[in-house]
Symmetry: D2
Subunit: 327 residues, 4 copies
């Protein structure tokens, strides 16, 4: 392993996810472990354009591993979508002597990073940080494990309440395009039904399933709905079911942004630590334009462009398990 | 203290609340401590009419103090609203040799209990169990402390997420007629604004306040909304604000029934234990038609009828504190 | 209400307690609400001697209400025990134009505050912040509610494990001189036995009680031990019981400092907000040398000296409840 | 896939682990999904000898997925270590018409299962359920993820407390022979030092490391100690360090059995659901004497005997990560 990089930058971008702080901490400490300098770029790509930089040392990242959110802040940066913006960012990096970049985020973040690497010849390595787990090239994204636990804890509380007869609980979880949170949280929470965008099973399917549950002796049912599944709001879905099955009384919970927050789980912290170390190691080998991920429990590299373009498959084994355990 | 009661019944009724199990446990163990028999009535007043009874001993209530919900189940019983239903219930109690009743619930539960005591001459003592804290005669109802902690934990997680500029978070909490959950959770969560039915401050007030917050340098704001405050759904409130203040982007969380669940807090368990013991003690003195509550940190009795009719006042000191700490 | 105070200082001292941040926040915002300046003194009285001061505004205390510990840091300051140290501190306050002080802490903190007020004529108001709840003049100290919930959650987890026959769990909680944490957490956790320094019941009592539990059909028992109760370590207590009752297998948990941490409960945050506002209000009336507390659910003042010297009584009702519900 | 098995038994044995209930639920529902009968055997192998059996249907396993412990109870059965005991157990299974067995537990459980399968020709499939993660043939055992989160939450609380200078916190976690909990929890909690039985680094190493931390500017340090690492109790370790480094003040927390309890994490519930389904699927293919595990994120079979005899390796990448992020 040889490298001439001795100063790297690190940023978090896009929607924040629990565990991003742990990833930044690992990047910083691994860089310092290898005698490199590290600069934190505040508010994602925006910080490069507004010159909001922050030198980081091992103490700067003390006591943040257990904090949700991202202490470097995040944003979506419109100017960076233009080549001129990226050129300006590259210039800024040159000025500061920052030779390479670790970017932590999701699809949008990686699209920008791909262009920065290709157009501006800045070595960039990506770390998948998003609660949605919808990035190709890694079995888990940072923040996903925390988000599904948050959702499951919410459903646990709902399950505690008096199991009145004919009560339906609808819980909307995040996932505009991907049903991973809904599928994992639905299995974990023991929900009766899971509605995800990948399947778009529709109202008739749901009515049919609830009817079967009812006949199987279930006195109340919990339905997990991914944001992206419903043609309209979960409130309207609940209303439609109440109209069609008047013996049911429906109650709605919308978890919203509380799924983004909370202290990261141990899994997310360990994952973030591994990926942060791997990202710096990868830059040191001279690689660029790749994402570090965890596949089959091992560090694995994927081209950033591929990570953006491809979509990970829903595991059919998991869908089968979900169907079996909810009978 | 003298009493000829040697067999009591206990039931939970209405909406369930965390800590109800701790109250039943204390009722059972205090009765047995005084060599009385105890019968659990399942599903509230319904169990008296359907004859769903369960003899209880000290072991029956082991390992339930930490469980949410109510293991005796709860219901709202229509038949009990009629005198004929109550007469049937009283007959059932006589048949079983149950000489007195401890009922755990809220307003509706106590209305039934008042009539059972007055019409049917059944000695009854009430214990306030509802997350809403809206019962006259007690500073705290069982379940309230757990519910406000659940709400605060949810807001904490939302606060963790990247503090993007001009982001508004609306969190709907329970409280159809009473703003206690919203007021306490709002102070506890450090929310910028609290909307409660007692004040009905309206959209203009909110817009004005957000504008002030904005000028004071707050980059994002959290608004707690009690169900009962809004003329229409919190989703529409959020939409209205976005229309009037287009620089803001609003996000909505509806906590719904998850506030009813969860393991009870220590406060609720200790409160429930104290009130359960006090209820049995009160029956033993020959009293009936009263509710045991906690006022000024001491056990206190209030007529059940008064407990139903009167409404506790919002503490003006607390409203003032809420206004000061949210500047 | 009239006052000429327009600049106050605030500090936290002694062992930290969850909710101290919420109290500082309320002090700061209430002062600013009344157009006063506020300076934070870092690391308690030490900061006065080392000149570690920090001007505070409403934004300085944003997003801290939900954090454990104290962002102003805390310490025990030896130099402040000497009159010379206190004179130096007073001089520093004069130099900075700080006319009055709010101190948040326990007995030791208040002893220093009493002397500062009496000797150096600095107006001082105290706020009780300690997890031990052992301060005379308030029903609750800031941090107590969080600590008992932390202890109860720990015991809940232990209770979850397979209820093997003849298993004894000893859990040591904080409380060197006072058994409040043990008493409340013991009732809340449904423990079979509670050992507190106020009672020093001894090994024979415990053996006798365990024997009775065993005969009553309890297959496993949970014993809460306050630090201050035991003549020697809880590990030795467990060993002694195993020797005398060889049919039992004992397991020990020592919670230690984890009881000091964690996000404050809603109760502690509301309490801290109320006391923080009350402290500033009290200074503005011209009072000094007093502690603001909550008695009978109302703000109440107690002389600082009295708060230090007297010890609050164990509530006999609570001890009776504890004995009844553990049968 | 063809099978003539139409009645299976399921049991949990050895130390209980969070998620065992989710595994039993999945076994039951998958069996019923395939029109098989299921019998629960209470208290592990003991239930076979004492004839404590319980027919299970889909409703028997409702509302248990979120509960810690095991509702089928567990035990260590001495009689089963003898061939005569196992013969008796096999006879019992024949009498009841139970044709095959799913056993959930750790090494001890699998040793018994191996012999039952080989000697008594009972088809048996094992599911790894233990918080220790020390089973060969699976990347994760059921309960491990929950246990490391419990440990990390405890350390988070300790980290919250005032970062006094020269304070050392020792936290003992479970792991008599294996350091997996300590390693993962140590990385997740951001501890300064991790002591595990696999390394036995000793007191001198620790003193040296603390000295380096101190010089690197760390004001307080957190040391995670696996039970099995220390030649004597963690209390004595703390005392030794205080003697050698008198500038430090040491505080000890022993988590003990609280790591076994608590609601299982989503990860453990999903893992348990997958393994439960896989175990029944495996029995239906006619396999026996194997354990179902998760390797490289896929269901994988390992001979039960091999699962007992081999020890999984500590991942050197994880140890390297741990060394880097704690600088």
């Amino acid at each position: 392993m040889s490298t001439s990089i001795n100063h790297i930058g690190v940023l978090t971008s896009g929607g924040d996810a629990p565990g991003m702080n742990a990833a930044v901490r690992a990047v910083v400490r691994c860089a310092i472990f290898h005698d490199m300098k590290v600069t934190g770029i505040v508010e994602g790509y925006t910080g490069l354009l507004t010159n909001t930089l922050r030198p980081l040392n091992t103490r700067s990242v003390s006591n943040i591993i257990n904090q949700g959110g991202t202490f470097l802040k995040s944003s979506r940066c419109m100017e960076f979508y233009e080549e001129a913006g990226r050129a300006k960012a590259a210039e800024k990096l040159h000025q500061e002597g920052i030779q390479a970049l670790v970017v932590i985020g999701g699809d949008g973040t990686f699209t920008g990073a791909t262009l920065l690497a290709r157009e501006q010849k800045i070595p960039v390595v990506g770390i998948p940080g998003t609660i949605d787990n919808d990035i190709y090239g890694t079995d888990f994204t940072i923040g996903f494990d925390t988000a599904i636990n948050t959702a499951v804890e919410a459903v646990d509380k709902i399950r505690d309440t008096a199991t009145s007869h004919n009560r339906l609980f609808f819980i909307e979880v995040m996932g505009r395009d991907a049903g991973y949170i809904a599928l994992h949280a639905g299995i974990g929470a023991g929900s009766e039904e899971i509605l995800i965008p990948e399947q778009h099973r529709g109202l008739d399917y749901l009515l049919d399933s609830l009817d079967r549950s009812n006949r199987a002796g279930k006195t109340s049912s919990i339905v997990i709905v991914a944001e992206g599944d419903k043609s309209n709001s979960v409130l309207e879905l609940a209303k439609s079911v109440e109209e069609k099955l008047p013996e049911y009384s429906a109650r709605v919970t919308i978890l919203g942004h509380l799924q983004r927050g909370g202290r990261p789980t141990c899994f997310d912290r360990v994952l973030a630590s591994r990926l942060g170390v791997a990202a710096v190691d990868t830059l040191r080998t001279g690689s660029s334009g790749v994402m570090v991920g965890l596949r089959d429990n091992r560090i694995s590299l994927t081209g950033l462009e591929k990570a953006c373009k491809e979509t990970p498959d829903m595991d059919p084994e998991l869908i089968r398990v979900s169907n079996i355990v909810s009978i």
